[in-house]
């Protein structure tokens, strides 16, 4: 039986991975297109709005904050989309969580940490409910979570109005500005650095000499942390492997023993948690809540994930891509402002930029996949 010894030889080692192999793998990553798109967007604004303040420290802090909040959602949504599902109730969940915190603090007199904890617990319940409904009924998640969108938003409104008679809950953080939890979610970091930079004239200062930008929003750290966690989950863990499988072909995944239902339910809990994190950050930053918070965030998050290379059909995508998708979206959204274009044309511009970003993204990805 020497016939196929060469092939059967178990000592045959894997080919060594040359640098080019690593490069090829990198080129095939879903986020490549989004990164290119980001570069192009920055170039475009560099030309059209170069010295209008977009790339001043204040401008950067501004669009990073917008991107960061969206990015927190986009990371979770990217995971869910890779797992082959949608969560349209995301935006309503934000409103629901905001109001939960507001009511707990203002009406029930709880402390902010307790209110935040309650909001997260509720998120787990809502997410699990969404997930269980989807896996049990085998209905498309689009339609189940759409019902969730209406029900959650409606509950938010009805409960708030029943309890307070209004649709807005003010003064949530009053007198607690110094508390750790408020800082952790709604604060700023890097203040000393900025103060030093301003004092030495590196960045713009206010008339009183303090820095124009007093620190970066904590949401930026959360964004990075959530994205890193999601990426690690996707690439490095068994759970991540299952997410890809469940989205790629859930029947096949079930056949090889992947606990499909459990994976999906966990993903829905993940998006509900990200929505709540978003709500906590917004409430503690702004100090108020209202029943319309988070409206349409579900679509923005999906857009960011898609720009970032996620397939709508599931099974393909990355959290880092979603991060760049959020960055593109945030930069375009705020960047238009600096170009001085009349707001009547804002949406035309936004739509065109989106299209161009996705086209570039797609072109790059296709070229990269071909050239592997």
């Amino acid at each position: 039986m020497t016939i196929v010894t060469d092939a059967l030889n178990p000592a045959h080692p894997p080919e060594p991975k040359p640098v080019s192999r690593r490069l090829v793998r990198l080129m095939r990553r879903p986020e490549l297109g989004a990164i290119t798109g980001t570069v192009i967007v920055f170039l475009a604004f560099g030309i059209t709005a170069g010295n209008s303040g977009l790339f001043s420290m204040a401008g950067i802090a501004n669009f990073l904050q917008v991107s960061a909040q969206l990015g927190i959602l986009a990371a979770a949504v990217a995971l869910l989309m890779i797992g082959g599902e949608f969560d349209l109730s995301l935006g309503s969940m934000i409103g629901f969580a905001s109001v939960t915190i507001g009511l707990c603090v203002n009406q029930f007199g709880l402390s902010i940490p307790a209110a935040v904890a309650i909001a997260f617990v509720i998120a787990v319940i809502v997410g699990a409910l969404n997930g269980i409904l989807v896996v049990r009924t085998r209905l498309p998640s689009f339609i189940v979570t759409l019902a969730g969108l209406f029900i959650l938003r409606g509950l938010t409104l009805a409960i708030t109005r029943t309890i307070t008679g209004r649709t807005q809950i003010p003064y949530i953080t009053d007198g607690q500005e110094g508390s750790f939890v408020v800082w952790l979610f709604g604060g700023k970091f890097g203040a000393p650095v900025f103060a030093w930079l301003a004092a030495h004239g590196v960045i713009a200062a206010r008339p009183d000499g303090s820095a124009m930008v007093q620190g970066l929003s904590m949401s930026i750290l959360w964004w990075v942390a959530v994205t890193a966690f999601a990426t690690w989950l996707l690439i490095k863990t068994r759970f991540g492997n299952w997410v890809f499988a469940v989205g790629g072909d859930d029947r096949a995944a079930r056949n090889v023993g992947v606990p499909v239902d459990r994976v999906k339910i966990l993903l829905f809990i993940g998006t509900a948690l990200s929505a709540t994190l978003f709500a906590v950050i917004q409430v503690l930053e702004a100090g108020s809540a209202d029943t319309l918070r988070g409206t349409q965030k579900e679509f923005q998050a999906i857009i960011a994930a898609v720009i970032g290379g996620c397939l709508l059909t599931g099974g393909y995508g990355s959290a880092i891509g979603a991060m760049f998708g959020a960055l593109i979206f945030g930069t375009v959204e705020m960047g238009i402002f600096y170009t001085g274009i009349d707001t009547d044309w804002f949406q035309v511009f936004l739509g065109s930029m989106l299209l161009i970003a996705v086209l570039v993204n797609n072109y790059v990805r296709r070229k990269a996949t071909e050239a592997r």
Binding site: V4, A7, L8, N9, P10, H12, P13, P14, E15, R21, V24, R25, W232, K236, T237, R238, G240, N241, W242, F244, A245, G248, D249, R251, A252, A253, R254, N255, V256, G257, V258, P259, G315, Y316
Partner: protein
């Protein structure tokens, strides 16, 4: 050998899909150290039978036994956990995922502890490279997407996966259908090795030249019913072939096929 308790057994199982009855009052047993061939025409119910064994379908009626104990698998995972590995006819591969990720899907090797537990991708790649090399497939990169493989290469990955993970029962649904002569013979050798290691192998094929050499027991299906189970000693290759053709007048057909080989005979064959 048949006095031993079968590793896996179906008794009087019926399986319906709406008004279609794919299996009807079917009994079937597979023993350790035996290769059990399932034979039958297209649509006879072979795939339905093995899907029932591997937990994809539950019987509409009847009972399944593993090691003589009644079991009900509500998902393929439970079958896998009971040591039953299957190559499905449609392969159960995720085209967009890499070969390695597909290979270990559901049974990923992990390293590290607690929250740092992660897939050991290096080990996994090495195993995949090794296992596919054994079956005669030289993949350029185990991280390549399964969707870019040829039909036969994909089948080899599925077989290697089942063989690697198979613990007590190995079920193969037409594993050699898309394979070249070379790869097919390697698969047959795998089957022989698995039998040698004491596994029960259930093997579906339409190719008598694959079925007869390797099979110990043959079960014949027709329209969802069992036509009987035969041991190799009691039956010749010719008889098996007769059974595979569903009892139809196979000899005439073979004659006719031979006529094709004579040049110019096409005229007669096509006259009908």
């Amino acid at each position: 050998m048949t006095e031993t308790v079968p590793l896996i057994e179906l008794r009087n199982v019926t399986r319906r899909f709406g008004s279609v009855t794919a299996l009807r009052d079917m009994s079937f047993a597979a023993h350790a150290g035996e290769v059990h061939c399932l034979l039958g025409d297209n649509g006879a119910g072979k795939s339905t039978l093995i899907k029932t064994l591997s937990g994809v379908h539950t019987p509409s009626e009847g009972q399944m036994y593993v090691d003589g104990k009644p079991v009900t698998f509500s998902s393929p995972r439970q079958a896998l956990d009971a040591g039953i590995a299957t190559v499905f006819q449609d392969l159960s591969m995720i085209p967009l995922m890499s070969i390695t990720r597909n290979f270990f899907l559901g049974r990923e090797p992990v390293k590290g502890w607690g929250p740092a537990r992660r897939i050991d991708m290096k080990t996994a790649d090495a195993i995949v490279y090794d296992q596919l090399g054994k079956i005669g497939i030289n993949v350029r990169d185990p991280q390549q997407a399964v969707g870019t493989l040829s039909g036969g290469e994909r089948q080899c990955v599925a077989i290697a996966r089942a063989v690697y993970h198979g613990a007590r029962v190995l079920i193969l649904d037409e594993p050699t259908s898309a394979l070249g002569v070379h790869q097919a013979s390697i698969v047959l050798r795998y089957v022989a090795q698995a039998r040698q290691r004491g596994l029960a192998v259930i093997f579906i094929t339409h190719n008598i030249h694959h079925a007869y050499p390797i099979g110990d027991v043959f079960t014949m299906l027709n329209r969802g019913r069992s036509l009987g189970t035969f041991r190799k000693g009691d039956i010749s290759e010719k008889e098996v072939l007769d059974m595979m053709a569903g009892g139809r007048e196979i000899r005439e057909l073979q004659q006719e096929l031979e006529r094709f080989t004579k040049p110019g005979s096409g005229a007669e064959a096509a006259a009908h």
